[in-house]
């Protein structure tokens, strides 16, 4: 059995974070699970091709797979101040004079990757709802290349390469917590409503008992759970940078669906 893990920042990071958790799942379920790191853009295609049975993706990719392949919702990851949820922020450098959405017109903006719910979609939707069309009303927008795009967005604004940035609120929280940036370095021009965070899913035709056991194992995980991995006894959740898992209803993702529809993004994109 294979679990496809969406690369959040890089393949290396994905493997480091999720191999201990996968070993734990294998031990608890008596199934030999294999970690498959997958680039976000390739995820729907590789899932459709049957390359993995279980999925760990951001909430927007979950929506796409649920819509196109009836992916089953298993558990939602908890990390950061909003737990199972997260949000997107629009930031500018303190002292730039850009304090409101109305100030954004004709400014240079940097977004996160296009399929990032809290690094692209949430902010794109915020702009549209404020009457600003990102395609026509700002000077231009860019998306950083390579890995660690969200941090690049924050630093891009911090060092003045861009006037405004679309940063996941979780990344801002973590960077302030680590002392990489100060809360006073930025104006938070707007923050989106909270939307579900990363999500585990299962292919529709899997053994229901296995799927239920997988879900139960995740939601029963506590901070104390450990696993033997490469000669070390590791804390499962801490090694995955996760606070825990919870069961949400598919309807909890409806707000995100509305955002995707308004922004004309997958799985509701119309040409």
């Amino acid at each position: 059995m294979r679990i496809g893990y969406m690369n959040c920042n890089s393949e290396k990071e994905t493997l480091e974070r999720f191999r201990p958790l996968t070993r734990y799942l294998s031990q608890q379920l008596g199934v030999d699970f294999e970690v498959v790191p997958v680039d976000t853009q390739d995820f729907p295609e590789r899932f459709a091709a049957g390359e993995f049975e279980f999925t760990h993706t951001n909430s927007l990719v979950y929506l796409i797979l649920h819509e196109e392949d009836q992916l089953q919702l298993l558990a939602t990851e908890k990390r950061g101040r909003y737990g199972t949820h997260t949000s997107g922020s629009i930031i500018s450098r303190k002292g730039s004079g850009i304090r409101t959405l109305a100030d954004l017109k004709d400014k240079r903006m940097v977004f996160g990757p296009q399929l990032a719910p809290s690094g692209f979609l949430a902010q794109y939707d915020l702009l549209l709802r404020a009457g600003i069309d990102p395609e026509t009303d700002i000077a231009y927008y860019a998306i950083p290349s390579g890995s660690f795009k969200h941090e690049k967005v924050v630093y891009g604004v911090y060092f003045g390469k861009f006037d405004v940035g679309a940063a996941p609120s979780l990344d801002l929280e973590l960077m302030v917590g680590d002392g990489k940036i100060q809360a006073d370095d930025f104006n938070i021009i707007a923050e989106s409503p909270i939307i579900p965070y990363c999500t585990f899913g299962a292919r529709k035709d899997l053994d229901p008992q296995l799927v239920e056991k997988f879900r139960q194992t995740l939601v029963q995980l506590t901070q104390d759970a450990t696993v033997e991995f490469e000669g070390e006894n590791l804390k499962v959740l801490a090694s995955a940078w996760v606070d825990g898992y919870e069961t949400l209803a598919d309807s909890d993702y409806d707000l995100l669906r509305e955002m995707a529809r308004r922004a004309n993004m997958p799985p509701y994109q119309k040409f």
């Binding site: 922020s89 929280e173 809360a183």
Partner: protein, 179 residues
């Protein structure tokens, strides 16, 4: 038997006198006792408490200002920054709970209220200037039925069980129960 002369008696009398004087001096030199001492102690505690309240007010003033301006995301970031220096401060937990509640992150808000009250019971003491009694009471009344149902529907979820236990804990503290 040893005979004592007048000189011995004089020395004995002087020695007795010294012991009495020393005893009196010792009694006089002690801290005030009874109600006077209690008043001083109570005053000291009040001054220390007031100083603490003022300190918290000043420390978290930037958070309050951002919150009043509706800049909730910036207020939360400021709290993250302050938590680096004061990670166990109950007031930060209370403010975080209030802001998260406003952001509709109800479960997380409850968890922070519980942590705050565990750290400092003043937040459920109606006489305290730090009191959040009505807010916490409103939260418990509104959310206890919701989380009872959620925990019942998801019996495996340790996290939901913890939040429900937290709500019961708040209910008990509001009723005046001890830990």
């Amino acid at each position: 038997m040893i005979r004592r002369d007048r000189f011995d008696l004089l020395l004995f009398a002087l020695l007795l006198g010294c012991v009495l004087v020393l005893g009196l001096l010792l009694l006089k030199g002690q801290a005030p006792t009874g109600s006077g001492a209690r008043i001083d102690k109570a005053l000291e505690q009040q001054i220390a408490y007031q100083a603490r309240v003022n300190f918290l007010h000043n420390l978290y003033q930037p958070v309050e200002q951002l919150r009043q301006k509706g800049q909730l995301a910036a207020a939360l970031l400021k709290l993250d920054e302050l938590a680096r220096k004061y990670p166990q401060e109950a007031h930060g937990e209370i403010l975080r709970g209030e802001i998260l509640l406003k952001r509709k992150a109800v479960k997380q808000a409850i968890d922070h209220f519980v942590r705050a009250v565990r750290l400092n019971g003043d937040y459920v003491d109606q006489a305290s200037p730090l009191s959040r009694y009505p807010e916490i009471q409103g939260l418990v009344e509104a959310q206890l039925p919701v989380f009872r149902q959620r925990a019942k529907s998801n019996p495996q979820s340790q996290s939901l069980q913890n939040t429900l236990t937290g709500l019961y804990y708040l209910q008990s503290r509001l009723a005046g129960g001890c830990e």
